[in-house]
Amino acid sequence: MKGGKVKLVLIALVTACMVFPFSFSAMAALPGKVVIGGPISLSGKFAKEGQQSVWGIKAMEKWVNATLGGVKIKGKKIPVAYKYYDDESKKEVVTNLMERLITKDKVKFTLAPYSSGLTLAAAPIVEKYGVLYNSHGGASNRIFEQGFSFIVQTLSPASEYQTGPLEMIKKIDPSAKRVAFLFQDNEFARAVAKGAEAKAKKLGFKVVFNRTYPKSARDLTPVLTELKNAKADILIGGGHFADGQLLAKQLDDMGINLKLVSILVAPTLPNFYQALGTMAESYMAPGQWGIGAKYSPAAAKKEGIPYFGPTQKEFMKYFLKESKGVKPDYHGAEAAAAFLAYVKAIDAANSLDPKVVRKVMNKLHFMTFFGDWKIDPKTGMQIAHKMVVLQWQGKKLQIVWPPAAQTSKPFYPMLTIKQRKAGKLAIVK
């Protein structure tokens, strides 16, 4: 009797745990449709970024079917469908799900999961089956240095992330020479750091501090004490959201005033400001995209390349419908752009054969609301998309660099801790 109760309790618990995550996964795969899909994080540490990605892709699935009627193959329009499973932000789950998507669901055009680590984990699986793999959240350059032939990239590679702030500072304040690097020790941030270091040396900056902190660190005080002594002008660093937010918080707690701080990921999300209030003013971050970015049919015409997909206004409309009012950040936009890239490439290839589509992708150069899309034919790495630098100014996230994409001029030097504590806003006059 007692054994029966034990079983009953265990069964109930396991069922409850299985029902919750799966209730948020889509399962639909309709015949007669071109299925584009992949594992994505709807639970675990990347749930926030994964949710944005799903909203972005779903928005484009709806736009493509409503506006274009799907992809055009041999004169026939076939609707597109998005299929995804929750990878729980875990490598082992990602590989299992990717195998399932390819072998059971017969997906030939896969979208990579969020983050460099997860993207790298599933890459050998897609390579084994010879299906296409489009990275929208895996920026690390190392992914594209493995010799994989079916992987392409929609977002800018990690090595480009923190080069924008350095270019900007060189232009607006050549006297600021002392740069400090403080990155989380992970796949993505290591690649960002490598790119930023090379750029800093090229531009003639003096690297006065270069450290990393482990993923599990919950107190950055020791490394920040050392940073304080380095007397840097500029701090470039971060990893993902939580540690980036902690870095900003503890910089202020320890009274470290700098002329410019650019942190990965964290400042690009509204929750950064919500958590820190006016202490978030004038913090910068590199971004793949920002609301207000000036990529449009007119900009494409000026560049001499075709424009594909919705305008930013249309994207916003479809996205907000999917997210029920939550605004897109760059994670949502880059995932949407990856989906659009597949549609454009399948259309251009007039084929559903991944090998044919991959070949055609090598020749494509077009613009979406997210920016340019063009890959290096050999590695599949993105070479045309440009990063932007975002900054919190007067409670709004503005694009401050490059000048062509600016929604506001940079606020420089950043407000002091005392000014931010007093509630001063970074308003450009």
Binding site: V9, L42, S43, A47, T221, V223, N271, L276
Partner: protein, 296 residues
Amino acid sequence: MEFLRMFSGDLINGIILGAVYGLMTMGLSLIFGVLKVVNVGHGAFIMVGAFIAYWMFTLFGLPPLLSAILALIVGIALGFFFYYVVMKWLLEAPELSTLLATFAIGIFLAEVAKAVWGPDYRGYSWNVGSLNLGVTTIPMAKVYALLSSIVIAVALYLWFKKTRAGNALRGVVEDKEGARVCGINVEGYYALSFAIGIGLTVMSGVFITLFVPVGINPYMGEVYTIKAFVIAVLGGLASPWGAFFGGFIFGLVENGSYAILGLIPGVEPFSLTQCLAFAILLVLLLLKPEGLLGKK
């Protein structure tokens, strides 16, 4: 001179971090000590506490120190609930069953939190000034976290040693059958210790936000579960006081060793601090397998 300044600053910060680590682990050790249940879902309860602090502050402006009382009450209620609904039926089952059950409870709590509050990272700013100690500047919120952790640890110690209920609970830990013969309601004390253990854990979530007031999200507990296990083993798995001291040692090593390791050329000191903390754990376990304050 500069080195000494950095080193002493790191030590002070290590003590504060250690106090919060210690408090965070006491609940885990208490539950293991009495019920012999390893709570793998420990971190999820810390997450609940962190969310209580966040919501109370952002919705009602309630200072985290007051939220701690609410968190204790919510935690105790959750403890009783999960004890009577789940744990009670599994106490005589093989150890793997309780391990699986607490793991499932952890996932369940995280997924419910995500369904209700979403996957966003949240945070709040409780600005109550800072304390300049010359060698380092410490936000007062962290000082409050340190003082609160010590007060709670001492209060729990006194409750165990000086009260009738505490004595009865110690009796249950020493000899379950003997306690039953003496008329002690063993099952009742099982429920009470599980509830207090969970209550302490949820409350520690509030104090963790005094230390790290950002990055609050449904999955934040994972890293704390791992650290709590290490600290619990360091202190002696069944000893809440050992856990508290273990937390101090872990915090001191993690932060305090940074300045020393930074003197070694070509190494990343922060990566090595964690390595050193685990190395010390290994050495200690070799010398004293039962942990700092654990009994053979």
